[in-house]
Amino acid sequence: MRRGQRNQGSARGPDHPTVPRCDTVLRTAISDQKPLGCWSLKHGQILTCPVVCNFETHEYIAVHDDKVLRIWKSEDISLDKAFKATLSADVYRIHSLPHGGLLVLFRGGGVRTLDELLEAPQQEIENVISGEAIRWSGAFMEDQQPVLIFTTEKDEDFFVYVQKPKLNSLHKYKLEQQESAKPLCFTAHITNQTVTLLCLYSNDSVYQILIPLQQDTEEEEEEKEILSKSLLLNFSISQAVLKGTSLVALDKDHIAVLGSLNAPKKQPKECLTIWNTKFQTLQTSKELPLGTSGQLWCYEEKFFLIHGKVLTVIMYKCETSSLAAAVGKLKCSQTPDVSSFMNWNTLEDEELVVSFQSQESVGLKAESRMNLRSKKSIDAELPFDSLSPGQVLARFKDAPNYLLETKFRRLMARAPTPDLQATVGGVVNVLTDRCKNSKYYPQDFLQEIVETWDLSYSLCPDLMAVGLEKKDMHLLQTCLERFPDIPEEITYACLKAFLSISEAHLENTDVNLDSVICYIDVESDKKEVKTEIVENGFSAQMDQDMCGTKIPKESQSWSDDESCPVGPQKAALLNAVLHSAYTETFLLPHLKNLPAQEAVLFLRYLYYLYVKCSGKVNTTLPGIRSPTINQIMDWMCLLLDAHFTVMVMLPEAKELLSNLHRFVRAQVRFYSELNKIEGSLRELQRLNHLRESHTYSIEVLEII
C-alpha cells in the first residue's frame, strides 16, 4: 500500500528509485549503489513533478513545465524523443498505484487517470478548488478503488479533500484551526475504511485526524465539515525539542520523523527518529551530522533520505508495538542500521554538489537547477583526463571488461599525485570486486599493477583472496614478496595453497624463479621432481594405508640431501612465504591446521634449505630474495611447534626428524668448535692488521 505515494515518485520496487532532479532523471540501483540510467531534459525545461514509474508497463512518466507529459521506457536514451503530450491544465502530481494505474492530480484539484488523459490530452480539467494551493497529496487503494487525498491551504485555513475518481465522489473538509501553529507535513494511511491523516504541526506536535470513507451520503456533500484533530505525540525529549521537518507513518503505532533536535545550549543536530505513538516514547534515533534536505521517504521498510551529499538508505523494522519494546526492554530492538548508500560523487568532489532540494521549495529551485545543470554537463561530456580518480572509478565501475582495463591504465599513467596510491588501490578493488564469483580475471593487468606500484595488503584487501580463489600463484608470490602487511591468515592460506597445488600444474605456471635459480639446478632436478609428484599424488588416506611399505622407499629417495623435495616453481612460491612478515602468535593457530602431509613436505623443504645454507661459509643462499638462514630456522621452529604431536605420531616424519636432529646436533658441535677458533683467529687478525701497512700491492680484482 505504501508504494508510490510519496514525494519521490514511485519506482520499480524500492530497490530502484528514480531520483529526480530539476532537469535530469537518474535511476539508481540501491543494492549495487550504482546508477542504472540517466535522462536529461533540454536546456530550460524543468521537471515540475517527481517522476513515477508505472510498474505494470515499466514506463516512466514525468511532467515538465507544468503541462508537458513525457512517457518513456528504460531503454530509451533521450527524453526529447520520448512520447509527449501537452495537457490543458497544470499538473500537481502523478500518483502511481499498484494495480490501480496512474492518477494525475491537477493544480485545480481535478483528478484523471493517465489512460483517460492520454485518450484526450487537451480535455478540459475542472477546477475543484478555488484559490487554494495544494500542499500535499496521497493516493491509496481501498476496495480496489483508488482514493486520492490532498490538502490545500488558503489564508491560513487548511482543507482536506478526499476524492474517489472512479466514483466521481469528492469530499471537502476543513481542518480545525490550531492557535499559533501551522501544519508542516502530512502523511496518511487507510485502515478499515478510515483515513488516518497525521499532521506535523509547527508546535512540534503530531496530530491525528480521522476521516471516515464510508460517508457517501449525498446530503452532506455540500457541507464543509470541520475535522477535529487529536494530539498524537509531542516531540519533547527531556529538555530538547525536536523540530520536525518530515513525517512518515510506519505502521499503526510507529511514525518516523526527520528533524533537528534543539537542545538548550547545544548545536541543533539533525536526526532521524522513530516514535512509538501508543506509548508516546522515542523508539530510536539516528544522528545525521552531515545535514539533510529535510525530506524523508519511506518504501518497503527502507528510509530514503539525503544525508550530506549522498542518498542514504536506512532499513528499519517495526516490531509489533509492545510495552517492552516501547521502554526498550525488548531483546531485539529495532535499531535502524545503514544498509547501503548511494554516493554519486565518490571521493568527495566539491564541484559535484548535487542538491536534492525539495520539489516544493520553490525558492531554492533556481539555485538547485543551476547546480544540477553543471553536474549534468560534467557527467555527460567531461573528457576523461579531467575526471578525478574517484569519478573515473565510479564511472567505469560498470564499464565492459575490455574498456575497464584501458581506462584504468590511463588513470594510473597520470602524473603522480599524493593520493595516486589510494587510487591504484581503488582500481584493484574495483577489479577484484568484479572478479569475485565471475569468470573475469585480468591476470596480467593485476600482476602488472602489483609489480609497478608499492601497494599494501590493506589497500586492496580482496586481491589476495581473489588470487587464491583463481589459483594465481604468480600474483600471490608477488604479493607475498611486496606487501608488508599481510595478515597471518592469508599467509597461511597461501602456504597451504602452494603446498597442495600439484607440481604438474605448476610446471606450466609462470612463477618468478629468481629466488631459487641460484641453488636449485633446474635441469638435474627434473627427475626428482617427477617422483615427487607421484608421491604427492597419494591421498592422505592412501598414505596412511601404505605407510608400512612407503618408509623405506622414501628414505631412499630422501637420504641424499642434494635433491630438492619440491620443484623449483613450488620452491620459489614457498620462498615467498618464508620472506613474508608474520607474528608467531598469530600464525601458529593457523599453522596447526596444515594437513600433516603438507607439513612434512614443507619441513622437508626447510630442511633442504637448511642443509644448503650450511654448505656455504656465510650461511646465505645466493640469488635475489632467497630465504635467509634465520627465516628458515624460524619457520622450522614454528612448524615443529605447530605440529609437534603430529610429527611424533607420523611414521613418514620419523626418518626426516631423526635426520634433522642429527644434522642440528652436528651443527651445534661444529659451531661450538668454531667459537673456540674464533677467539684465537681474532687475535691473529688484530696482529695482522697492525702489520698491514703495505703501501703497495698488486691484487687481482674480478669485475663481473
Binding site: 645466493p622 698488486i698 680484482l701
Partner: protein
C-alpha cells in the same frame, strides 16, 4: 667481464690542510673555505656541494678570515697583515692591501657588504670601504691594547663588538668610541689563566654571544654589561661560533672536535619567554673545529683534520634530497695524480712539490682477491720541489713519461725526464713561453707531442713539444663568444683531433686540436645547471663522456654535435637512485681501448666500470651487486647483470686509471694514514682507557 691486475698504491702521502675558516655566502648558495696552507675553496651548495673553485695557497699568505662582500666578491685577511681579494673567475688572489695594523686576526663585512672591519694584532679595529676594483681605508675605530681576535657587526651596522684576550668591547661605529668593555673572566675566582675570546657575535637584540677558551658560550647584555646566560659546552676551548640568520640557533666548535648546537627555545610550551638551550652535540671531527658556519638548513663545520662536515637540520628540510644527508668532505674534488700509462709512472702533486714514482710489477697471475708477489718494487724516482712561496696549481706527466709539467700562480714549468737505467734525471726545459695567468690544468696529448694548458677567460694554449727538450707556443684556442671564467678541465681525444675544455661558467666547449687544419671552435655542449666534475673523449667513437657534480652522466657525440642515443636512453630512464645519492663527484673518466662499450669512472668511494651494452638497472635492483654476482653460478649471472659494475674495495680513492687492457692502478689514501701525521688532538679521557 674479466679480471684486472690492480696496482694498489698507498704511498701518496697527501695530507690535506686543515680548515681554518668558513664563510657562507649571504644568500646561502655558496660556501667559501680557507685552509691552513692559505688555499681558498668555494663550494656550491646547489651543485651537490661541489668544490667548484680552488685557489691554491701561498706560503706567505695565511688566511685567518674570509668574508663575502659587495655581492659575490670574496675577501680574505690573514697574519701577513694584508687584505686580499680573490678573483673567483680567474682563480687567483687578486689585490692585496696592507691593513696597517700588523697581523689581521679577523675580518667581517657589514650587513650590506659595503664595509669591512678588521681586527688587528695592535688592538685596532679598522674600517675599509669596498669600492669597485678594491677596497679603501676609511677610518680607525678606538684602539685598545690587546689583539682583536674576533669581530662582529650589529645587524643594523651601528655597533661592532670586538673580542680580545680576557675582555671584549663594544664600539659605536659612528663615533668610533668604545661604549662598553666587559671582562669575560670577571666572575671566575682566581683566574690564573688568561681567557681568550675566540669567537663573538652581536645579535640584533643587543645580546653579545661569546665563545672563549674556557669552553664557555656566554650571552651578555652589552648595554648593562651583565652576563645573561653562560653555558659551559666543553672542558677545552670553544673556538668558533656561528649564528643562524633568524638568530634562533647557534653552532659552536670546540677544540675537542665536538660541535654543539644551541637553540633559542620557549621555556614553556607555547610560552613567550625563551632561553638558549644546548640541544645537539656532534662529534664529527678528531681535531680542533676552527671554523663553523650556519646555513639556513645545515650546520657546517671545518676542522684541523681537514674535514668539512655539512650536517643538515632535519627540521628545516622539506623533502628527501641530496641535502638531507650528512656530508663529509676530506679530499679535493679534483685529481692530484696523473699517470703515464705507457711508462707506468705516477706523478703526485703536493702543495709545494711533486713526486714521480714508478710502479712495481709482477709476473704471476691469480684469482680474484689474491695478492700477487712482486718481482719489482715500486720506486720513488724523483721529488721535484717548486721554488718560491707559491703553491702548485696543477701538474701532469705525459703518457710516455718523458715530460713533466706544473704550474704555480705565476709561472709554468716544464721538465724533461731522462731515464737511463736505474737513474732518473730531470732537466728543465729552457725558454718556456711566459704565460701571464696561471695554468689551471695541464694535459699532454696522447702521443706526447703537444701540451694543452688551460688558461683564464676560457682560453687554451697549445704548446708543441720538441725533441730533445724544447717547447714552442703554437696557438691559443679561444671560445667564440667571450668567456670570463677560467678553464679548469681539459680532455684531449686520443686521435688528437679534438679537445674538450670546461670553464667555470659550466660550459664545456669542444675545439679541434692541433692536427686539424681549421683551428676553430667546433661546438658547445648544451649548458647544464651543475658543474662538470670530470670528462673524457672516447678513443674510438670520439664521444665525450661528461660527469656532472649532481652525479648525472651524459655522452655527447662530438662529430654529430648531439647527445648520443645511449645518453638519451639514460636520461629518459633516469639513473639508479643509489647512484644519484652518492657522496662525492666522479673525478676521473677513462676508457678501455679493447672494449669500446666500457667506461671506467671513479669517485672517492667507488670505482665503476660502466658497460653500455648491458641494460641499465632500475631502482628496484641492487646497484652494487658485484658480491651477489660472485656467489652465483655462471649460468645464473646473466639475468642479474646490469650496466654499473661497481667495486668499493678501494677507499678513499684518489685516482684510478687503466694502464692497459686488464691492468688498473688505484691510488688510495687511508684516512688513518694521514690522521697519524696530523698534530695530536686535545687529549681526552675515554671511558675504559
Amino acid at each position: 667481464m674479466g679480471e684486472f691486475e690492480v696496482h694498489r698504491v698507498r704511498f701518496f702521502g697527501l695530507v690535506p690542510a686543515g680548515v681554518r675558516c668558513l664563510a657562507c655566502h649571504p644568500r646561502g648558495s655558496r660556501l667559501a673555505l680557507a685552509r691552513t696552507d692559505g688555499a681558498v675553496e668555494v663550494y656550491n651548495f646547489a651543485a651537490n656541494y661541489f668544490q667548484e673553485k680552488v685557489i691554491p695557497g701561498h706560503e706567505l699568505r695565511t688566511v685567518e678570515s674570509l668574508c663575502w662582500a659587495a655581492g659575490d666578491r670574496l675577501f680574505g685577511a690573514g697574519l701577513s697583515g694584508d687584505i686580499t681579494e680573490y678573483d673567483l673567475s680567474g682563480l687567483s688572489a687578486a689585490r692585496g692591501v696592507d691593513g696597517g695594523g700588523g697581523p689581521i686576526w679577523s675580518m667581517v663585512a657589514n650587513s650590506t657588504g659595503t664595509q669591512l672591519a678588521i681586527g688587528c694584532e695592535d688592538g685596532s679595529v679598522k674600517i675599509f670601504q669596498v669600492v669597485p676594483g678594491g677596497i679603501q681605508f676609511e677610518r680607525n675605530l678606538d684602539r685598545r691594547k690587546g689583539r682583536v681576535l674576533c669581530l662582529s657587526w650589529h645587524p643594523s651596522d651601528t655597533h661592532i663588538v670586538a673580542g680580545s684576550i680576557d675582555f671584549f668591547r663594544v664600539i659605536d661605529v659612528t663615533s668610533g668610541q668604545t661604549v662598553q668593555r666587559i671582562m669575560v673572566n670577571h666572575h671566575v675566582e682566581k683566574a690564573k689563566r688568561e681567557c681568550v675570546v675566540w669567537a663573538i657575535s652581536l645579535l640584533s637584540s643587543g645580546t653579545v654571544v661569546s665563545a672563549d677558551s674556557f669552553g664557555r658560550v656566554q650571552f651578555w647584555d652589552w648595554e648593562q654589561g651583565t652576563l645573561a646566560e653562560s653555558h659551559t659546552v666543553s672542558t677545552s676551548a670553544a673556538l668558533s661560533l656561528a649564528v643562524s640568520e633568524k638568530e634562533d640557533s647557534i653552532i659552536v666548535g670546540t677544540s675537542t672536535g665536538a660541535t654543539y648546537q644551541l637553540q633559542l627555545l620557549p621555556v614553556t610550551l607555547g610560552g613567550q619567554e625563551k632561553r638558549w638551550v644546548r640541544t645537539k652535540p656532534f662529534q664529527f671531527h678528531s681535531h680542533d673545529v676552527r671554523a663553523v658556519a650556519h646555513s639556513p638548513t645545515a650546520l657546517i663545520s671545518g676542522g684541523l683534520d681537514a674535514q668539512l662536515v655539512i650536517r643538515p637540520l632535519m627540521e628545516k628540510i622539506q623533502k628527501k634530497s641530496y641535502d638531507a644527508a650528512l656530508r663529509k668532505f676530506t679530499f679535493p674534488h679534483r685529481r692530484l695524480v696523473s699517470c703515464a700509462r705507457k711508462a707506468r709512472l705516477l706523478l703526485f702533486q703536493f702543495s709545494q712539490y711533486l713526486e714521480l714514482w714508478r710502479l712495481g710489477s709482477t709476473e704471476e697471475t691469480g684469482k680474484d682477491g689474491e695478492v700477487l708477489p712482486l718481482c719489482q718494487m715500486p720506486e720513488h724516482l724523483v721529488q721535484l720541489k717548486s721554488k718560491g712561496p707559491e703553491h702548485i696549481y696543477c701538474s701532469c706527466v705525459s703518457p710516455c713519461g718523458t715530460w713533466v709539467g706544473y704550474s704555480t700562480a705565476s709561472r709554468f714549468h716544464l721538465y724533461r725526464v731522462h731515464c737511463d737505467g736505474d737513474g732518473v734525471s730531470l732537466r728543465k726545459v729552457p725558454k718556456v713561453p711566459k704565460l701571464l695567468p696561471p695554468a689551471y690544468q695541464l694535459q699532454f696529448s696522447a702521443d706526447s707531442d703537444s701540451l694543452f694548458v688551460a688558461s683564464a677567460r676560457g682560453s687554451v694554449h697549445v704548446f708543441q713539444l720538441l725533441e730533445p727538450g724544447g717547447c714552442k707556443h703554437l696557438h691559443t684556442l679561444r671560445p667564440p663568444s667571450g668567456c670570463s671564467e677560467a678553464v679548469y678541465l681539459l680532455a684531449p681525444s686520443a686521435d688528437g683531433h679534438w679537445l674538450a675544455a670546461v670553464s667555470g661558467d659550466w660550459v664545456s666547449a669542444v675545439v679541434p686540436s692541433v692536427h686539424c687544419p681549421l683551428l676553430q671552435h667546433h661546438c658547445t655542449v648544451p649548458t647544464y645547471n651543475c658543474a662538470v666534475s670530470a670528462l673524457a673523449i672516447h678513443p674510438s667513437t670520439n664521444n665525450l663522456v661528461i660527469a656532472y657534480s649532481d652525479q648525472q652522466l651524459l655522452e655527447f657525440s662530438i662529430p654529430e654535435k648531439q647527445y648520443t642515443s645511449w645518453s638519451r636512453a639514460v636520461q629518459s630512464r633516469g639513473l639508479h637512485r643509489a647512484w644519484l645519492e652518492r657522496d662525492s663527484p666522479i673525478t676521473h673518466i677513462t676508457f678501455n681501448p679493447k672494449n669500446p662499450s666500457h667506461i671506467l669512472l671513479h669517485d672517492t668511494y667507488l670505482l665503476c666500470v660502466l658497460d653500455k651494452s648491458l641494460p641499465l638497472p632500475d631502482d628496484s635492483t641492487l646497484l652494487m651487486n658485484q658480491s651477489t654476482l660472485k656467489q652465483l653460478p655462471e649460468t645464473a649471472r646473466k639475468r642479474q647483470l646490469h650496466a654499473f659494475k661497481i667495486c668499493k674495495k678501494f677507499q678513499p680513492l684518489l685516482f684510478m686509471d687503466l694502464l692497459d687492457e686488464n691492468c688498473l692502478v688505484v691510488v688510495e689514501r687511508p684516512i688513518m694514514d694521514f690522521k697519524t701525521q696530523l698534530p695530536l688532538p686535545v687529549q681526552q679521557k675515554k671511558f675504559g682507557t
